[in-house]
């Protein structure tokens, strides 16, 4: 394991030396994942809240489908997005294949069901508590939806973090639609896969530790934000 520690030391050295290649890779990882999670939340939060709030025929089926889609294999998502964005596919003329945008789309497809399914559960539990109140006050559907999302906001932060965790750790989809092109679509996970395939196992593991540390930092930042928001809300 000696070589692992020296590789880890070397990798951490690269981080603190602000090595331009590594910074570019980390920056692209964050840009792709955070954008994907943002769009996944824009779609998944209202969608999940709607399914959790309103009664409609087939609601249980929709809930089951959303839950099932949480298990979408990244490779399958990568293939689907590849086939759609390929020059021979329906959106080929947009020339998005092998760009960061393609990676964002793939991760968005992967994360949206997670956000929607978990939001539905959170909101459905809350709806049970609120439904009589809403009925007696005659609150309209749109206001009910926004009230639900607002009151569940702290739980939904954790939902977003679950989506972030899935996206940032994922390699199967982005390597297919991004192509792992150096300086263009190479992110942390595809770099780790590449170094593993070169047999540089220690370096790959060290990069994995750094990815974990970044995920930790993002989670800590969100939790700190939440804590200060809670404090100011009850101050």
């Amino acid at each position: 394991m000696d070589s692992f520690w020296s590789a880890l030391g070397g990798a951490i050295g690269l981080v603190f030396a602000l090595d331009p290649d590594l910074m570019e890779i980390i920056g692209l990882s964050m840009r792709v994942t955070l954008t994907a999670v943002l769009f996944a939340c824009l779609i998944g939060l209202p969608l999940g809240a709607a399914v959790g709030t309103f009664d409609f025929p087939g609601r249980t089926l929709v809930a089951v489908v959303l839950n099932a889609l949480m298990g979408l294999p990244p490779v399958v998502v990568g293939l689907l997005v590849y086939l759609v964005l390929s020059a021979s596919g329906p959106l080929g003329p947009l020339r998005l294949l092998y760009t960061p945008t393609a990676m964002i789309i793939a991760q968005m497809v992967l994360v949206t069901p997670i956000v929607a399914a978990l939001t539905r559960q959170v909101v459905e539990d809350l709806t049970r508590e609120y439904s009589e109140q809403f009925a007696s006050m005659g609150v309209g559907p749109l206001d009910r939806l926004t009230a639900m999302l607002w009151d569940a906001r702290y739980s939904l932060l954790t939902v977003a973090l679950a989506g972030f965790g899935r996206a940032v750790a994922e390699v199967g989809a982005v390597i297919i639609v991004g192509g792992n092109i150096n300086h263009v679509t190479r992110v942390m996970t595809t770099t780790i896969a590449l170094e593993t395939s070169k047999g540089n196992l220690q370096l790959a593991l060290a990069l994995g530790v750094i990815l974990l540390a970044i995920a930790f930092a993002v989670n800590a930042a969100v939790m700190a934000l939440r804590a200060s928001a809670v404090r100011s809300a009850y101050a």
Binding site: R31, T35, F39, L42, I43, P46, S86, A87, S88, G89, G92, P93, L94, R95, L96, L97, Y98, T99, P100, T101, I104, I105, L142, G179, N180, I181, N182, V184, L194, T196, S197, K198, G199, N200, L201
Partner: protein
């Protein structure tokens, strides 16, 4: 409300595509569908900056197995195909998907094995005899099993040895269905013999107690070829820049650059483009 959200979404995605990607605006790049051996060996990291300095054209390499590279190129997802399975390449051109094919460089395949050498093939330069010994002794053999150039070459050699390894799949013959590096990682973990191109092996960082067991048989010759994807089939193919890259890599300058690339003092690829040809 929903429609507005979607419009905003589409607009933002579009903006991401535009602003995040300055290179798209100038369009000074080509996509080369190539193989893992050329990437993992570090050859492209060495060659492409030279080409970019000279022409200003950025080359974006998608490194996958030869089979997948050919399929991607057939879908039009690339301007140039740079792979190593001559029969498949010639079929690609014959099918009208590629303009023409040219030899670029070669190296050779080797069979690597554990120092215990369970099949007793170490030091051999006769690949078919060695494969027969491996099959007879039922020593583990890890195959790519992924329709790559190396996999296809391996299957041709088994056929030449008169053995159908697929009949023993899951027994001593183990198909990893993965790239060269992953297969080397897996194979060395189970003391299996593995056929690999020499470049990937030299650059590989997890050799353990493995050494080259079989090498030097002319049958293990490994030729790389380059093909421009046919712009008549896929009209968005950047034929001018793609041809510029092909011309450069076949020129004396490109060929010299290939020859001068070394890892640990060893030359990994040997240029053999026809002189004056392009």
């Amino acid at each position: 409300m929903i429609r507005r959200t979607f419009l905003a979404l589409a607009a933002t995605l579009f903006l991401c595509a535009q602003t995040g990607h300055p290179a798209l605006a100038e369009d000074k790049f080509i996509i080369v569908q190539s193989t893992t051996s050329t990437q993992n060996s570090g050859l492209f990291d060495y060659l492409l900056p030279l080409f970019k300095d000279k022409t200003g054209v950025e080359v974006r390499v998608v490194a996958v197995g030869t089979g997948q590279a050919i399929k991607n190129a057939a879908n039009g997802d690339g301007d140039v195909l740079f792979v190593h399975s001559r029969p498949s390449e010639e079929k690609f051109v014959a099918d009208g998907l590629g303009v023409s094919r040219a030899d670029v460089m070669y190296n050779d395949f080797v069979i690597v094995g554990p120092s215990s050498d369970p099949a007793g093939v170490a030091g051999s330069n006769d690949v078919t005899a060695s494969l027969k010994k491996i099959a007879e002794s039922k020593a583990a053999f890890a195959s790519r099993g992924d329709d790559s150039g190396t996999h296809k070459a391996e299957l041709r050699l088994w056929k030449a040895a008169g053995i159908d390894p697929g009949a023993n799949s899951g027994d001593w013959y183990r198909e990893t269905g993965s790239g060269m590096g992953a297969t080397l990682n897996t194979g060395t973990g189970m003391d299996a013999y593995i056929m690999t191109d020499r470049a990937t092996w030299i650059a590989f960082g997890n050799k353990g107690d493995y050494t080259i067991a079989v090498e030097g048989d002319p049958k293990m010759f490994n030729q790389y070829g380059v093909i421009l994807v046919n712009p008549k089939v896929h009209e968005h193919v950047k034929a001018d820049m793609g041809q510029e890259f092909i011309d450069w890599i076949l020129s004396k300058e490109g060929q010299d650059a290939i020859a001068s690339y070394k890892v640990d003092g060893q030359q990994l690829f040997f240029p053999n483009a026809e002189k004056g040809g392009s």
